[in-house]
Amino acid sequence: MTDAVNQPDKPQMRGGGSPDLFSKFDDVIEMRAGLLASGVEDPFGLVMERVLSPTVAVCNGRETILLGTYNYMGMTFDPQVIEAGKQALNDFGSGTTGSRVLNGTYLGHKQVEQALCDFYDMPYAMVFSTGYQANLGIISTIAGKGDYIVLDIDSHASIWDGCKLGDAEVVPFKHNDIEAMEKRLKRIPEGAGKLVILEGVYSMLGDIAPLKEMIAIAKAHGAMVLVDEAHSMGFIGPNGRGVAEDQGCLDEVDFVIGTFSKSVGTVGGFCVSNHPKFEIMRLVCRPYVFTASLPPSVVATACTSIRLLMDASEKRAHLWENSEKLHGALKDAGFQLGTETPQSAIISVIMPDLEKGAAMWEALLHEGLYVNLARPPATPANMTLLRCSLCAEHSTEQVDQIVEMFTTAGKATGII
């Protein structure tokens, strides 16, 4: 980013006494300027100059272990996946230049939707251009004016934006609080449509939801249930279908939302469903209709990757080993973690404040390790987090190296 981003707006007032519309960003500009003034490298301006594998890239000329990419299953460099993409580029061209409902549905789009139906063992699947649009589209289309959405307060931005776009009554409850959810469901006026929105894995702390109990209560109150399994697909559950599968309640979920940009290793979003009228979504869901469909190479790589993930139990087992090993070692080293036990492939290290968090982030980068720096307002309870996401392709030796780097950087910055 250029230096201009660090300057407060000027002029403050425009002709006729109208304020500069950018003045509402002054707080963020100030926060950023303050952070950079302390001399740290810009945590939100990192460039991957070369990517050597799912777990190693070159950043600022340094070879860097990647521990913040959500590339859980390491499919991005799978030879079969890459070959499928190349073939589709050759056969179908670089892009569709059209909406799914006009000229943008190619053979590959139908094939990837079939792969999703097979992966989840569900009858209907609909692919969106991003995961963000999948939540935005499905939520805003099914829950409209007069309907009630009951959702976890720590829900992802795409869920909140879907709620806002649809104009339903939005009723949040405290994170993972079963009783708070039930109380709100009970108070919804009789006859109103109800949608409960949950996530399998919450990406900030890497904790999972008690889906089985929550979904049973939602169903008892006549609500439909949507579960975002973006951070669990491919990894959690016997077939990698997510937390709902793992807890034995996937059949009770009306809509599963997922993404191709994590375990699948490309970009795109989807919804799978058992609802008999689901196909009508293709005509009424605006974020599906009014945008161009995914490029043929992307759907081809996604389709190949999803089919490979159906049979990836060894990779799943190794990823669990990595998660358990890193969680245990960081805890032993004295770091404060987001969860008591490893619950997913995300391990969140809680920082005392943004300044120390940024210093630690930079120290890790200099050691040759990339993690995500997460800060308010994206984080729960206004925490600053160093969020680590493990990959099935991280070797045991790499995890050992990661622990060493954390310990060195943690001591240098005075965090442990």
Binding site: Y148, I153, C163, E169, V170, V171, P172, F173, K174, A180, K183, R184, R187, I188, P377, A381, N382
Partner: protein, 80 residues
């Protein structure tokens, strides 16, 4: 329930969230005067919802800026 009684019940609930002990009137603003952040709002709204057995959806919360508006909204919701 009359307005005064409703206001008294809400005033009691607000105490633990009113960290600076600001004197509360109908014109007191939650964000500007009481400096409520989004987490405080969630906990405070939950306390009111439980006390009166109502839902104050986020859509309704967006219309409530002052203490007086909150009392009016709770009156309306408990009346329904």
């Amino acid at each position: 329930m009359d307005r005064e009684a409703t206001s008294a019940r809400i005033a009691k609930l607000i105490e633990p969230f009113n960290k600076k002990g600001i004197a509360i009137t109908d014109d007191t603003k939650f964000t500007d005067d009481l400096e409520f952040d989004s987490l405080t709002v969630m906990d405070f709204v939950a306390a009111i919802e439980d006390e009166f057995d109502i839902i104050i959806s986020m859509n309704q919360q967006a219309e409530i800026e002052t203490y007086g508006q909150l009392v009016d909204a709770v009156m309306k919701l408990t009346d329904a």
